[in-house]
Structure formats: structure tokens, C-alpha cells
Subunit: 360 residues, 2 copies
Amino acid sequence: MNQSHIKLFIPGPVEVSPETFCAMSQPMIGHRGSGFQDLYASIQPQLRKLLFTQNPIFLSTSSAWGVMEAAVRNLTSKKVLNCCCGAFSDKWFDVSKRCGKEADQIKVEWGQPILPEMIDAKLKTGQFDALTLIHNETSTGVMNPLADIAAVMKKYPDVMFIVDCVSSMTGVKIETDALGIDVLLAGTQKAWALPPGLAIFAVSDRALQRAATVPGRGYYFDFLEFKSNHDKNMTPSTPSIPHIYGLKFKLDQIEKEGFENRLARHLKMATITRDWAKSRGFEMFPKAGYEAITLSCVKNNKNIDVAKLQKALKDKYKVLIDGGYGQIKGKSFRIGHMGDETPATVTELLGQIDDCLKTL
Amino acid sequence: MNQSHIKLFIPGPVEVSPETFCAMSQPMIGHRGSGFQDLYASIQPQLRKLLFTQNPIFLSTSSAWGVMEAAVRNLTSKKVLNCCCGAFSDKWFDVSKRCGKEADQIKVEWGQPILPEMIDAKLKTGQFDALTLIHNETSTGVMNPLADIAAVMKKYPDVMFIVDCVSSMTGVKIETDALGIDVLLAGTQKAWALPPGLAIFAVSDRALQRAATVPGRGYYFDFLEFKSNHDKNMTPSTPSIPHIYGLKFKLDQIEKEGFENRLARHLKMATITRDWAKSRGFEMFPKAGYEAITLSCVKNNKNIDVAKLQKALKDKYKVLIDGGYGQIKGKSFRIGHMGDETPATVTELLGQIDDCLKTL
């Protein structure tokens, strides 16, 4: 590690371990040869197990936004309902319209969750054939009640259930098939603790059937292209091979740790952070009961100088926390506690924050 | 390097050096912070110099296909003319239609180049407002006469000139602005000698003006999003930071070698390979005078068992050449000689091929 290394505790990209980089630095292989096909095939059972699904898992060389846009483009014939509760989910509504799709939104104040009854009220109009939900809205630290929402979605089998779990995948258990999720997607730079550059997504049979009826899907993000190449253990276009080597490494690592242990570790880190915030007189930004597990968005109710805190942490301890996103910049701060972090590293960080708070 | 390392002499992905992987393995940085902005800004002058353009250079976390599709989606209002002379350029016509665009094609036999008079004949109908050309058609080893085509394109200023130089960028001089190219694009896994996962593209002012008038551009590949983020030294979505570190490393390396030296090295490798083929009784697959410089597609006029040759090279020398693409599989074979390769490594490879040819 070089001297200027600032360790990231922002909610993504997160710190990537030297071992992960080492795994990513294996010699190139042709992406149309058996070496790549073997690699692709080897990770499928691991991914399906981790995501609790029998659906194929596709790998897109893009950020999660590529697949978020693709899901709307591939699956919306009538109208898409975007559930908006923060910067990223708000933007999904905008992106839907930019794809030329009819779109409507459910919009709650930042910090509030999306509730199942809001969805029910909209879907019962019969106008919609797709819905987008961000499980973990990274900008506000809200984790939406996925199981309750999934229960409502079962009443509307013709509405494609598109779930972004960018900052929750691998840190929170998501039972894709039991929840009836048609598209589950995430990028690799959050709880996977890989660099950004790859998106992972599981697509249901019924979503593939829907896609077949929707024109204008294009090529790069066409779900049917992903499927036909998947059947040969390949990706439609030349993929980022280093990221896929890295993904294999992380999957092996997750298996070794045990997924239940991994979930417990993430919950523990969240609890430590929330307890710390409370004991220091801070409130959490999300409505009580809807706090994310992989990151904490802390309300700046004490009116500290967040930018100054960030700078002090960076200068003195070479760590970076986030100073609040968009409209809540300075009014909140965010700490990522996911991926390779542990209760010990999070506790150390919180001690460093305590120390810097004294100097503000 | 591990024991199973097979060195790639296919025309992409190509071999990536340990030093490049090392550069890519630097600690993560936030993509909305000054560290990233400094990195992004630092490579712009280097890229502009290398590509002979004053246009902004955008970085897309995708394969080149993402930008190939994007160029059609962003710039076609009336109708796009796709110049088809091999697997990849043929496919571009298909992709154009899949984006819901009106499209027509110029189609020549594999091995033949696209000639300026063919383009003139089509464009003079006035039907078209965009044209796609693959400079170096990697499947056939044909390098199209870019300067002559560019001269014709100047007669049609309303037709966007979209040029894929996936396997020629950095190995052949391309004077983007002088040639009037509106979109110049490439992936990183060819002559850049980086892993796949990033696409680099330069977009002209007039292309940005056109894009502003074209609906349905979406978000992920919207040229105007790239531009507005570029103005802040950022990318629209979270980019593959390792690839950008790698790109910086390669740009510095190219500067150190000197671009003219680099061009001479690539030409030398091409000459060695063509001379070798001729002296062994092989013909080149492309029409004489249109052979690519960064790879050679050799016609299998001696009817050797190409698959057996590939296997012998892999088993005995741990090197991989390509056995011909699509409809010319087995009827040709391809050798990549680009990126970090040298006349010495290419000469060594050709000796190994000689040795294996004896055993067929």
C-alpha cells in the first residue's frame, strides 16, 4: 500500500483487499474459449446459492445503472412504476422517461421508506406492467421492507418486480425466488468489496418472456442476448475478465466464511455504528426500523461541521467517510460498513471519529 | 505467472503485463472526489494528443459494443448507413435495427475493403444522417482506407462519421480531427494491452449537437451525460477505476516509448508476419493493400489443420493464436501482434508455428 492510501469507509466504492487485486491480476484468457467458459460455469452455482434463486445470473460489464436502465427498457410495455425515496431511486424515474417509456412514481420524503400499501394503491389501477424498487437506498441509508412489498407484488403477477440491491447484496439475505423478484441486480463495488466495473443480475423466466415481446431492447443490454450467451457460459460482449476472476475469489471467500456468519458480521457492524451514533447524541437519518445494514446514514442533528470532520479524519487517520449526498449533504454523514470490514475495523473508525469530533 | 499461463497472440484480448496489473491494483478512490477528478483530468491531454483531436475523450465502463450501439442511438435521426465487411461490421447493421433505427448497409465479401466510391454512391441519395465504419475489421484482418473514406465524408457534413478503431487505436495513427471523425471509439483489450472492460471514445461538437435533438438516448450511454460529467472530470456512472489507473499507466508508457516509435514497432511486427506467411506459401486473407497492421489474418490456402496447429502451439509452447472467426474458421488463422509485443516476441512465435507446422 502506498503512503497516500486513504481507506474508504464511504458507502461505495469500498476498500478492496490486496488479495482481491491479486486474484484479479491473473493472465488474460480469450472470452470465447473453454477457459472462460469454465470460469463462468464455476461461479453460477455459487451465485445462485447466495442469491437464493434458480434463475440464471448474468454478468454485465457496466455499472449497476446500465442494468437498471436495461431492466426498464427490456420489461416495460405499458408503464413502469418507479418507487422513489432518495437520490438513486428518484433518478430511476427520470431514466425510465429518457428511455421513452411511460412512467409514474411513488415519491416519499428522503429518509422515509416505500411502504407496501403505497404500491398496492398504484398497482390496482392496472396501468403498470413493471415496478422498480431500490432495496437499500444508499443516499438516505433506508432499507425498504422488501418482504412486505414482495407480498403485495404477488397480487400482480403481470407487473415485473425489478429490485436494485446495489448496496445490500451479500450483506443482507435476499431470497430472490421466494420473494418473486424478476430482476435482482447489483454492482460489485459495495458489499462485494470488488472494484466498480461489473454488474450482477438474476432474471426470471417470466422476465425473459416479457423481454421477447418488447421492441427496441438494443444489443448491449438485451436480456435475451445475455440468456443465449449464458446458455454457452459466455457473455454477449467481451467482459471485464479481471472482475470475473475477482468475483470468483470473493465467492470462494464467502463460502469459506459461511453466509450466515457473513450476515451476522454485517448486522454486528450496523449495530455497533447505530449504538455509537445514539450514544453520541446523533439520530439516524432513516425512519426508525428502516435503517440499512450495510451502511449508516447519520442525521447531523448536532449541527457539526461535517466537511471539517471528513478532513480531520482524512488528514489524521487516512480514512474517508461520506459527507451526505445531494440535498442532505452536510445535514447527514454516511459510514459504509460492508464487504471486508469487521466489527474491529468499524470500532476503530468510530474511535477515530470520536477523536476528530473533539477537535471540531 | 502461474504454470497454466497461456500467452495470448489472438487479436484480443491480448497479453497484459504484470506492471499493468500492478498499476490497476492501486487502492480504490471515490469516483466523485478530487482524487478521481485529478486522475481523469491528467489523462485527457495525453489521450487528445494520441488521438489527434481537440474533442473531449469519454470513458465508458463497457465493451466497445456499448459505445457502438450508443453512437447509433445518439446520432441517428433519419437513417444510418452501416459499412459491412466482416463479422463485427455486419453485426453493427443488425444492432442498428435492434435500436429501432432505420438502417441500410453496404456489404462486401469478407476479405474485401469498403471503398470510398461505395459510400459516395449511397450517401448521395440524401437518405442518411449517420455512417458506421470499422477501421480495422478484426474478423477478416482488413484495414479500410480511412483517409480516402474521410475525404468522401467531407462532402456530407450532415452525416455523422462514426469510426470503430477497436483493434487499431494506438497501433495506427488516426488523425481524428483532420479526418473529420465525429465518434472515434475503441475498447482497451486490443492494442492498448489492457484487460477488457473499458471503452474510450472521442465525440465531436457537432455530434453532441445532433445528440441533443435525438430522443430515446437513455442514460447509461447518453453522450450528453458523458459531456456534462466530463466537464467536471467525472463519468456519468461509477467507472471501473482499475481500468482508468491502467489507462494512465499505458499512456505514460506510450509517451516514454514515443508514439512514432510505437507505430514503427507495430508496422515492423506486421511486416515480419506477412513476410513469414508469404515465405511459407500462405496468402493473406485480406485483399492486397488492405492488410491490418495490428493483426494478420492468414488465408489457409495450404489447407492445414488449423485446430491441430492451435493445439500444438498451446501444448508445446503455451501460446494461443486464433483459428479463424465465424464463416472463415479453419479457412484462415489470425495472429495478433499489438500492444506490448515486439518484433522479437513475434519472431519467436513464428518460429514456434514453424516447428508445430512440421508435426501436422
